[in-house]
Amino acid sequence: MDSHLPEHIVTATDVHRHFGEGDAAVHALDGISVDFPRGCFTAIMGPSGSGKSTLMHVLAGLDRPTSGSVVVDGVEISDLDDKQLTELRRDKVGFVFQFFNLLPVLTAEENIRLPLSIAGRKADPELMAKLVDAVDLGDRLSHRPAELSGGQQQRVAVARALISQPAVVFADEPTGNLDSGTSEEVLALLRRAVDEFGQTVVMVTHDANAAAIADRVLVLVDGRIVRDAEAGSAERVHDLLKQDTVA
């Protein structure tokens, strides 16, 4: 398999996603074609309601496109049935949400292991050790989410997304709920995942500083990609956004 790894982990071709019918229909995604190369950290930006979350859901197999094709790690996912989608989510995709990422009844460590427990697999001890180190929870690993700070919770959520070594991790505003200090810890963790583990990450954010940590920035407006550029500094990201509003 290694010999013919696809260059792009995720490929979307002319993806549309409509909600509702007729005049009231909302074109949340209006013809999106985009590739996400392996080991690349992509930030998706855009005004509220521009379709960022919808795109993530469609790419992660949480939602189905109205039309168009999505290929994740060589698999066309628009034809998969529920069972296959479940397996896709379990094995190939990691997801980090803005809120409510952890099961309150499990400890931090159990939450990290959850995707593997669900699949009935054992964690690779080396990877687990690395993640535990990266998450930097120390002795709080056996605590339940309610006893952790928001940043700690979100780092656990990121570790959970990484534990199954998915083809791609999607993060929808992972820092949307955090102050700048804690945001940085979470972003650093994502960055480390890309640099050290070669993980592919796609992240939605409203924060130019957050986007600046990525390799590439996509800007979405009204369900279309209007900008696709290298990230660079926060100022540059700001510029990208401004150009967009002008355009």
Binding site: D91, L103, L106, I118, S164
Partner: protein
Amino acid sequence: MTSVALRNLLARKARTLLTSLAVVLGVMMVSGTYILTDTIDQSFGNIFEQSNAGIDAVVSAKETVETDDNQESPFSADILDRVQGVEGVEAADGGIFDTQVSILDKDGEPIGGNGAPSFGASVVADRFDALSYPEGRKPAADDEVVIDKQTAGRAGYEVGDRVRVAGKEDATAYELVGVATLGDVDSFGGASIALFTLDEIRRVTRKEGEFDQISVAAAPGVSPEELTRRLDEALPASVEAQTGQEDTQAQKDDVGEFISILKTAMLIFSGVSLFVAAFLIFNTFSITVAQRTREFSMLRTIGASRRQLVRTVVFEAAAIGLLASVLGLLAGIGFAPAINALFHALEIDLPNEGSVVATRTIVLAFALGIGLTVLASLIPALRITRVPPVTGLREGAVLETPKSHRLRSALATGLTAIGAVSMLLGVFGALSPGELWIGVGAAAVFFGVALLSPRLVGPMAALVGRPLERFRGVSGRLARENAVRNPGRTASTAAALMIGLALVSFVAIFASGLSSSITAAFDKTVKADLILTNTDGFSDISAGVTGAVADVDGVEVASPTRFAQANTAGDEGGYLTLVDTDTVGSVMTLDWEEGDDAVLAGLGKTDAVIDEKWGREKGLSVGDDFKAETSSGKTLSYTVRGTFVDRADFNGDYVASDVTAAAYGEPNSLQQVLLSLEDGADTGAVRKDIDALVADRYPTVEPKDKGEFGDFISGEVNQLLGVVYALLALAVIVSLFGIVNTLALSIHERTRELGLIRAVGMSRRQVRRIIRYEAVITALIGAVLGSVLGVLFALIMSRPLADEGFALSIPVGTLIFLLILAIVAGVIAAIGPARRASRLDVLDALAYE
């Protein structure tokens, strides 16, 4: 604010319905009970009124002893002449109405089998005849018979067939010349009736020259009361006259007594279901109030007062109660026939034509349904007052339950202890009425344990959940965690199931103790090789049986035994046993306290041996005298010659010689013949001969060896147990709704969590598994608590019986079966909620609220 409440109910239709279902079942049982018993009451009333139509007065023997079989004593036929001589009597006719005549089906077995009454009667003069004959005619010759239409239909007899009937004489075949109905109803309330000529029924019942009853019609201008007065004046003291109405009323009262026992028993079970339902309402409201914390908090911020919020919830409860009452009442109308069908299956045939829905029933249904629901919602509703404005709006805010754990535990322990003590005091008669205190005590124990049980949930969930976790990994783990997440909720859900299962296991334990005690006592005293009784176990058999079986080759002795009733030493209708002193020694013994078998064999006409317990009660010991007033009106004197222990109460108050059987009104009938076989006799061959003999001449008799007799006794106990289980099953079903409800509400609450685990790759099947295990854990907690309480109750309730040799045995098999049942119940309860949880759309779930 009331519109908020209504909107809420409408918005959550499924939940509203589910919540009300528990109450619906309870109300259904109560209203069904009243509908059924009212209907039976009325139907019997109709039957009695119809059969007494045209009768102004009835003359019958004066009953000195109230016997269980309601058989009136016959009196001399001369009385009829004297009745006819009374001024104001226009017409009078005597008849026989015997309760111990059986119609045989085509296989020669008595129709009605277990205990359905079967009557034999004589044809009476047309003007007194309440029967109509839709087919054929009345019997005119001694070899003709008429039977009731229902029985004919059931056995497949048609006019012209030969029908065998067994009474006190050998079974005889008759030509069926007609079928009878009572006015316009085919049914005699499940009884079968055979109609003969007067001569023939007298021969069959051995009432030569006697009548059971004389019907009298008054001459114009003479009121029934006046007629009755004149009859009483003219007739000897051994008989009495009643107006037709009084007689009808007396008959109604007789069945009324039985029906009220039935009613009370069923109401007790209904009460259990309602009690369980109250638990569930309480639970459901606790959960929904907690879940709506945000909503309430928001309403508070916009200015709703606490009182308004409480009122909203109480109003919701009242609306649910109203809905439940309506549904319950409707269901009750359907439930009554269902229960009747259950009785029917157990061969208890009761007449019920139509459905009598009395105003009282309707009022009660609404009062119970609404009252109970509102009452149960009160505490959860009051919790709203603790919702602070604003803070509730915080993400994931939950209502803090008060942390007064110590107080709660103390209260719970106290309540449990008080309940147990109340039960004990009730059982020992220190508090009366005992039943009430036992009931109240049991309810208190249930409450106490329910209050304590949140503390037990953790350890018990661990006990049950650990193995699940080992085998099922994360599904098991999550199920266990979810079960302990809100211990109070799991506890009260489990408590609802606990109540039903505690009663089931109590009854099982108690019944198994009862039947083993009876069997043990039986083994100890009965030496006979074969026991001959009526097929139903208690009705009369012909006195001729004794001589007939004694002649069979290989039979050493055949000893007749009579179980009679008399007013013994002041007790109305006390039980006693009459034995044949010549033969009794080889077939039975007594558990002697004072005396030996020689005393029994040597009993003279005025000697008796008495039950030591009864003796203690009456202050009688060996050498003392006591009197017994018999059903024939005679008073017999006895001297105590010995005392025996009789824990299973086989022999009643005393055992005496049967030379006085006639005085007890039992010259021609007996209840048991005990046989012992000659040494070395071929048991199988003798048995075959006896079987053939009874089949030919006494088809109502059934021979049993000791083993079979023991089985018969446990069979009877088990049959009763079956009815009790069926009624308790409803309480268990109600509690299953509770599990469904709690699960559904919890899932609703955890929608986002479910979305999350699905998003990280859990399959639908795994989600279903979590919910299922959660239900099983809850059910098992209920079952374990219930079994423990059941054992505890059995211990308490059997205390006073312990010194009477009641051996409490724990039916381990049954208890294990109950646990398995609980698991199955949990799995079933989880089906719906699990399906719903697994079908949640991942994105919707995540976006939820």
